[in-house]
């Protein structure tokens, strides 16, 4: 380690300890274990700042947080998977004595033996570790891919294909008997149910947008001539969509930072109330 990095390390360590002590004293009236709480809060703040330091450049503090994050969260996922899936879903269907051990109700069912299937598949998957029988791990993969393909086939066709088409059955002219005269038509350009021109325009835009957007996705035709022009309009609509969605999301992203900075200033440093 070079001298400069040692200096940085020493500074951070000192600040950490100072913050720990101050936080501990500040929390004296609130918690019994105030110094433990002080440590935890300081550590949270340290991790927060370490991650943010990546914006400047990669550095040992980021590396530390990153590696800690990976180890802890991988184990977190495994533990949750074990308790919810194995103990929550598998055990109560296969073994009464294990269910009693984990103190969960045993679920009696005629078709419970089917639940040996995923266990067998799981074991086959572990065959990957063997050179000779490694190919067997393809069978559970094939099962999973078959499941995914089958479920998504119907799921997407129903929710995204048919429903989206049905949602586009919109009138391009106003409704009968609601015509309020040409003056009103052109003078009421408000974004409300009353503004007929805007309503009509919206529906036209939706209709043409969907239509031309679909043309853009055509693979088996050269995009030339009228077809090409429509596909061009399709791209424009997509570009508006992307631009608008981007702009709209910015606000949400800023709020995330507001949350983090509030944590630093309020919970850790205590400079705002």
């Amino acid at each position: 380690m070079r001298k400069s990095s040692l200096m940085v390390l020493a500074t951070v360590a000192t600040l950490f300890i100072v913050s720990w002590i101050f936080k501990g004293i500040a929390l004296e009236d609130i918690y019994e274990s105030n110094y433990l709480q002080g440590f935890l809060l300081t550590f949270s703040a340290f991790l927060t700042l370490s991650i943010m330091s990546f914006l400047y450049k990669d550095n040992p503090f980021y590396k530390f947080s990153e590696h800690l994050f990976v180890g802890v969260s991988a184990a977190y996922a495994m533990v949750v998977g074990f308790w919810t899936t194995i103990v929550g879903n598998l055990v109560p269907r296969l073994s009464e004595s294990l269910s009693n051990f984990f103190q969960i109700p045993y679920q009696e069912g005629t078709y419970n033996f089917f639940y040996y299937l995923p266990v067998i598949f799981g074991l086959m998957l572990l065959m990957r570790l063997s050179k000779k029988h490694g190919w067997m791990s393809r069978i559970p993969l094939a099962f999973i891919i078959g499941t995914t393909a089958g479920l998504n086939f119907i799921g997407y066709l129903r929710s995204d294909f048919t429903n989206q088409i049905a949602a586009t059955f919109i009138p391009l002219l106003g409704a009968a008997g609601e015509w309020k005269g040409i003056g009103d038509f052109f003078s009421n350009l408000s974004l409300s149910a009353g503004g007929q021109l805007v309503m009509m325009l919206s529906n036209w835009v939706i209709f043409l947008g969907v239509f031309c957007g679909l043309i853009y996705f055509f693979f088996s035709r050269e995009h030339t001539g009228l077809f090409g022009k429509a596909s061009r309009v399709g791209i424009w609509i997509l570009m508006i969509t992307f631009g608008a969605s981007f702009g709209y999301t910015v606000m949400g992203r800023i709020s995330l930072l507001v949350g983090r900075i509030t944590f630093l200033f309020k919970d850790w440093l205590g400079i705002i109330s």
Binding site: I51, R138, I144, F161, V205
Partner: protein
Amino acid sequence: MRRNIPLAVTFVVGMLLIVSVFLPPIETIGEDFGVFFSIIAVFAFFLGGGNLIKVHFGKIMKKSNDWEFSLVTVVGFFAMLIIGLFKIGAPGDISTSVTAEGSYFQEMFVYLINPLQSTMYALLAFFVASASYRAFRAKNREATILLVAAFIILLGRTPLGMMLTGWIPESFSIFQVPNLAVWIMNSPNLAGQRAIMIGISLGVVAMSLRLILGIERTYLGGDDKG
């Protein structure tokens, strides 16, 4: 054989699931298969978690670059694993939820994972700014449209939008930037999203068919041994 058995499995399972939607007696089979999937996925953890530890252990053993940090990963991993599997510090007996308030597992989540997670997420605020700086340039017609749409929405979401265009009378209120922003979200944005969704659904359907029929088989690996 090493290819045909898996292909047959995919075909049978895929077809079964498509057909099951129309046959009430086996209608719920998809849900069961979903549970099967999550059980298999837990078995896969042995491979995944094992691999993670193997990689970092290897680094520590070989004292390769940054091996000290690998130590952090390994220690963090085992600490969390032991705390979680044995429910250390859990407020009740074995039946209490692993994420129950007060258990060490939950404390680790609150003070370790949570700040890391939300800070990583918050980095987006910065990246969204640098990305818009670079990307929103009027290089050609398409890029200009993208830029203008984004700009109107951004403007419409701040008081600036109303300050600039608040004078426009109510009967032409569509031209007030905040309203215009809403209209863009409501109409062209909706149309674009819808076209994309319909396209995606067809893509998924065709992809699924190729998988079920065995036309697409890259994922199955070669014919070799092992």
